[in-house]
Structure formats: C-alpha cells, structure tokens
C-alpha cells in the first residue's frame, strides 16, 4: 500500500511541469562561463539503474550514494534530480527530467509511468534507457556518471507477497484437512452463540403474535462476504418461517442481492415442503439509495409491525435508524455486521449482536453440517497460528531484537 502511494506521488510529480530550479538550470547552461559561479557539490556516486521488480514493466529503480557534500563536507546539497536519455552520449538537451527534486538524504528513486502510448506518462517496455543523477545546491549542481542501458520488464511473480501465498496455502491445507476429519464423522465442538440460539425463539414469538418477520440483508453487494454469510442465515430463517407459516418480509437495497434472496427464500420454502406459500412479492427491491432505502424500511416497520427483525450483513449509518425504529415498535432484534463502526449501535440498540467474525460463523451454527464445522475448526487453527506468531515475534524482539517476524507481515503491494 505504501509503495502504491509512493508510486502515485511519483506519478503526480512526473506529470507536473517541473518549474523548480528550472530557471537556475537553464541559466547555468546558457552562460556557461561566469566569473562568480559557486563551487558545485561533489557528484552522487555509484549510481545503479535496474528493472523495478514485481511490476508490469513500466518502472526502473535508480539508486545512488549521497554526494560527499550532502550530510558531510559543505553540507549544502538540498536535493537530487534524476535525468534519463535514450543514448549514453546524448546531448544535454536530450536528457529529460525523470523526477522532481528529491529531498537531500534520498538515495533511491523509482521512475515509473504507464502503458498509454500517447499519454504524458508513457514508459516504454523492453527499451534501452540511460540514467544519471544531479546533486543540487541552492544555486548550482553536479552530475553523476551515466549508467545503462537498462530495460523495464514484465514480471510474472510478485516476490513481495510470497508470505501471503504461503498463508493461502496453509489455510487451504488446514481447511481441507479439517473438512476431511469432519466428514469422517468426528464430533466437533462449537461454543454457544447467544444471538443464534435466540433465532428459533424469535421466530416462534412472531408466530404467536401472528406478525411478520423482517429480514434485512444490509447494503452490501451480493458478492460481499457479509452478504453471502447473510444468505446462508436467511435460508435457515426462511425455512423456519415457512414451517411456522408466518409472513416474511425481505426489502432489498441491491438488485442482485434481491435476485439471490428470492432464490434462497423460494428454495427454503421448498425444503420446508410449502412451495405454494412462497409469495414472490415478499422479497422485493426498494431502492439503491441509502437513506431512501432506510426511509422505506422504517415506514414498512411502523406499518407492518414485525415481531422479529434480523439485520445481518453490511451496514453503514442506517444501523441505528433501523435498530431504534425496531425498538420503538417492540420487535425482538438480532443484528450482525462486520462493519466495526456500526457495531456499537447494534450492540446498544438490539437484543443480540453478532460481532464481526461471528456473523460469518453463524450459518455454520444454524446448519451444523460437518463440512462447515470443519472450516470453523480450520479458522480457529489459523487464529491459533496468529496468536502463536504474535507471542513468538514479541519474544524474539525482546530477547534478541529480531525483527524478522515483523518483516514477514510487512509485505509490499
């Protein structure tokens, strides 16, 4: 992420015309011999230019050693600037500025661009370039030796994220292993979750009161993990509702979510053996505008007075609006979201709240399918690995000042 930001900054810098010191530069070039020309600083040494790794072949990394007058010597170097040309012995006018002024103390610059051939940032792939570095003082500059040729190349594996790859592998192995164990019929324990245990009771209450059950899937898209978890819960809730023969209301914010929810609910009614009770209009679209949706749902609540409200999925500022309206009409409310900012409002205003990961696990609780239980077990093991890693990392840092483990997690983008 940081690197991405850096690249963005660099690209912005490259995009803008470089007015700084431009005057000084050209003035120096024109009046090549003036009497009181200040003494130039020592040039930057040991310049290297290599293909920037782990990218799409549109960047070259330039490094150099600080001018002897940067932090030592005359100490008057205020910064560096990178120049690029297409030939080693190109005339000064053919060298283009590859960077803005980089602050003193800098020893690395990544010159990057994009693949748009007519664009201002075009950066040719597989093409020979030459680089040199200027050390600048307030009124003069010096030039390093030229390096090159160097080419920017496509890379086919991002070495910066190897540890992500390893963790993906570890996680797949854990999941597959525990799913196998679970399939063999081994009993796997899961701790009780209050919100889930209340589901049956809540729907039962709606039945007794002869009032509908309201299920809100949140503002997420059909592909958001919170929404997918919510579909799984909806499928169980709809089945119970069908068995108890109470009405179900599912107003939707996202059209795609609506289509999936319709399929899910219809299938649940079939499973319950009551396909004819399914009302096509019970799962409906309201609007894709956040507060208009909320206004609609609030209106529905106060008119239909559902006995039980489920808010499971992704929520934003509307969380408290829904939960307080629900409390106003005296519904039992079960909420769950992975949006940290909204959890406080659900916790305060609802009867039960599934916090973050609990929402994802809830469908497993409701179905108790061994395969899904296996995935929960795998998740817990991954968590144990994390706890172990944190402890080990801190210990290592305390004892031998090892920063290795920290660097593992600081993968680059």
């Amino acid at each position: 992420m940081r690197k991405l930001a850096l690249i963005c900054v660099v690209m912005v810098l490259a995009f803008l015309p470089p007015p700084l010191l431009g005057e000084v530069d050209s003035a120096l070039l024109q009046d090549s011999v003036t009497v009181d020309l200040p003494e130039p600083p020592a040039p930057p040494g040991n310049v290297t230019a290599t293909d920037n790794p782990n990218d799409n072949g549109r960047a070259i990394r330039v490094t150099w050693e600080l001018s002897a007058d940067d932090t030592t010597g005359m100490k008057n170097v205020i910064g560096y600037r990178i120049n690029r040309a297409e030939a080693r012995d190109a005339a000064d006018s053919l060298w283009t500025e590859a960077s803005d002024i980089l602050p003193s103390g800098t020893t690395e610059f990544i010159h990057s661009g994009d693949g748009e051939e007519d664009g201002p940032d075009y950066f040719a792939k597989n093409y020979d370039f030459y680089y040199r570095v200027h050390a600048l003082t307030a009124d003069t500059f010096s030039v390093s030796a030229v390096v090159g040729p160097v080419q920017a190349k496509d890379n086919w594996y991002n070495t910066g994220v190897t540890f992500v790859l390893l963790f993906v592998a570890l996680f797949i192995i854990l999941t597959v292993t525990f799913v196998r164990i679970a399939r063999k019929g081994k009993e796997l324990y899961i701790r009780p979750l209050a919100g889930i245990e209340a589901v049956d009771e809540a729907i039962g209450r709606a039945t007794e009161m002869g009032k509908p059950t309201l299920y809100i899937l949140g503002l997420g898209s059909a592909a958001d993990i919170a929404t997918i978890a919510s579909f799984a819960i909806l499928s169980r809730v709809a089945k119970k509702v069908a068995e108890y023969q109470t009405p179900l209301l599912v107003p939707c914010y996202e059209p795609f979510v609506m289509t999936v929810a319709q399929d899910t609910v219809r299938a649940a009614y079939m499973d319950a053996g009551r396909p004819d009770d399914y009302d096509e209009d019970s799962v409906y679209f309201v609007t894709s505008s956040q507060f208009a949706y909320v206004a609609g749902v609030m209106g529905t609540m106060i008119r239909e007075k559902p006995a039980t409200n489920f808010y499971l999925g992704m929520f934003h500022a509307e969380s408290l609006l829904l939960a307080e309206t629900g409390a106003m009409i005296g519904s039992i409310q079960i909420a769950g979201t992975d949006q940290i900012a909204q959890l406080p409002f659900f916790v305060v205003a609802c009867d039960y709240t599934l916090i973050g990961e609990e929402l994802y696990a809830a469908s497993v609780y409701l179905s108790r399918e061994p395969v899904l239980l296996g995935t929960i077990k795998a998740q817990d093991w991954a968590k144990a690995v994390v706890v172990g890693t944190i402890l080990a990392g801190l210990l290592a840092r305390l004892l031998v000042d090892l920063d290795f483990i920290k660097t593992v997690f600081e993968v680059s983008v």
Binding site: L13, L20, I78, G79, I101, P103, S104, G105
Partner: protein, 303 residues
C-alpha cells in the same frame, strides 16, 4: 444573562426534571418526549445564539501563549493543509491564528502542501486578513507562498532553503525582492510553525520533518478525528494542539476574551459549540436518568 439563555436553561432544567420524576415513579417516558426534548434543545440553542465561555484547556492555552509570548516581529509560518470537507472544522482555527499573529505584529508566512488548500488560503486572506488588517503590507508583514507539489518532501527542502522550493511567491514575485525574506533563508529561521490540517501531509509530517529535525516549535490545528492520534506528541514535539470544533471554539473564546478589537468578531466554532454542548448535556442526562430509573425499579422488584 440573556433572555434566550434563561429560557433555554429553564426549558432544559424543567424537562430533565420532569423526565426524571416520571422515570423514578416507574412510568415509561414516551420516546416522543425524548425526541421533542433533544430537538428543541438544539433549536433553542441555535435560535438564541447560545454560546458558552469555552475556557481554554491547557493544551489550547499553550498554543495561545506560544503566539502571545513571541517577541514582536517574530516569523510565524501557517500551513493550510486541508480541503473543503475539513473546512468547517479547521477553517475557524485558521482565521483565529491569522488574527492573533497579526495583532501581535508577527511576520506571517502562508503556504500549503495540499492543492485544495490554495483556494481556501486565498479566501482566508481575502475575507479575513485584508479587511481586518488593512495596515498589514504584503511582503513586509505577510507573504503567500502558495502551493507546491511534493508533499512532505517540500518540508525537507524548505528546511534547508525556501528559495530552492519557492523561487517566487504565489503571485510570481521573486522572494529576494520581498523584505520579509531578508532575514529568513530557511525554515530554521522561522520562530513558530502553525500546521492546520487533518490528513497527510499534515501536522504529523510537520512534527517529524520540521519540528524534530529543525528544532522548531509547532502548534497544530486538526480535525477531531485525527486529534487523539496527535495527543502523544504534546507537549514535547507539539507545543499546543487544537482538536476539532471544540478546540477552535476555545481559541476563539481566548481571543475574544483577551483582545478588545476581537470582541465582536465572527465566532463560527463557538456558535457551533452552543448546540453541541447543550445536546451533550441532555444526552448525558438521559443516560443518568435511565440508570436511576433502572436501579429504582430493580430495588422495587427486590422488595
């Protein structure tokens, strides 16, 4: 004591008392009373322009004193590192700082590291500086350096030389022709940096790249969201900090209280804090009343 304040206090006091009595008696207060009550609290505060003498907390007072105690003619740099979205929160701070520094006859250097800050800075100069301080002369008393690309890199460069980054000011005048720059070559010649902003680069970057390296005192003004992250820098790396509307209001109140010429100045932050304070008092009163009622009812059930 204005009529408005008395009306509001009577209203709020009476309302809270009534809800308290109802709750203690074990009656459920209909939430519509709660709604009506919080709504009218805010409405009354707005209607009667209620403000509270926000007494400056030490962290804001420290910022105020820093400017107050600089010798006359000191060089102060104000960085406008924010965008229109943050303007309601930090804009009032910028106005205050400009008023205060110019009233103390300090030399003012204005600059921004945000492209969006340029227009806001110009607005502040046109709306506050020029009309209120017609005697301040451009180039002698204040200068507008404008915006330069480069983020915190700009700080690095001006730490060693202003002219390297700013051959000219925002209007294209050569720095050398401005009297203010006779004595000032780099950031190290500045006596105080005031950084106003809520993002990156912002207060934190000024602290890390200018304050720490150049040993220059820094006062920060920032959005409420960011303020907690900056508290740890006070008092060593930040000599004072204004957090959000609240901090701005405290500074406004300090300024109006200490300077006669600012008695009637516009105080948007203080105006905003009136309804805020009253609403917070009411919400907290609700929490307390709710708990009193709860414990009463538990006691009753216990019997």
């Amino acid at each position: 004591m204005s009529v408005g304040l008395i009306t509001s206090v009577v209203f709020i006091g009476g309302g809270v008392l009534w809800i308290l009595v109802q709750s203690v008696k074990g009656r459920d207060v209909d939430r519509r009373w709660i709604f009506l009550f919080i709504g009218s609290t805010v409405a009354l505060a707005l209607l009667f322009h209620i403000r509270f003498g926000e007494k400056a907390t030490p962290i804001v007072k420290a910022a105020f004193n820093q400017i107050e105690n600089l010798p006359e003619g000191a060089s102060v740099l104000i960085a406008f590192d924010y965008d229109p979205a943050m303007e309601p929160e930090v804009g009032p701070m910028a106005d205050c700082f400009i008023r205060h520094t110019l009233a103390r006859k300090h030399k003012l250097f204005l600059m921004t590291l945000w492209a969006t800050g340029q227009a806001l800075m110009t607005n502040t100069v046109e709306d506050v500086l020029k009309p209120e301080f017609p005697e301040a002369e451009y180039g002698t008393d204040y200068v507008n350096l404008g915006y330069k690309v480069g983020g915190f890199g700009v700080i690095n460069v001006v730490l060693s030389d202003f002219r390297a980054m700013y051959p000219t000011d925002a209007h294209g005048t050569l720095l050398d022709s401005l009297p203010m720059f006779n004595k000032v070559r780099s950031l190290r010649d500045i006596d105080l940096i005031i950084s106003i902003g809520g993002g990156t680069p912002g207060v934190k970057e000024w602290v890390l790249f200018a304050g720490n390296r150049g040993n220059i005192p820094i006062v920060g003004g920032t959005a409420a969201v960011v303020a907690p992250l900056l508290y740890p820098y006070y008092p060593r790396q930040l000599v004072g900090l204004l957090g959000g509307t609240k901090g701005a209001a405290e500074y406004e109140s300090e300024l109006t209280g200490n300077y006669d010429r600012f008695k009637d100045m516009d105080t948007p932050a203080l105006r905003m804090m009136g309804p805020q304070t009253m609403a917070h008092v009411v919400v907290m009163a609700f929490i307390i009343i709710g708990n009193i009622a709860y414990f009463r009812s538990r006691k009753r059930e216990g019997k």
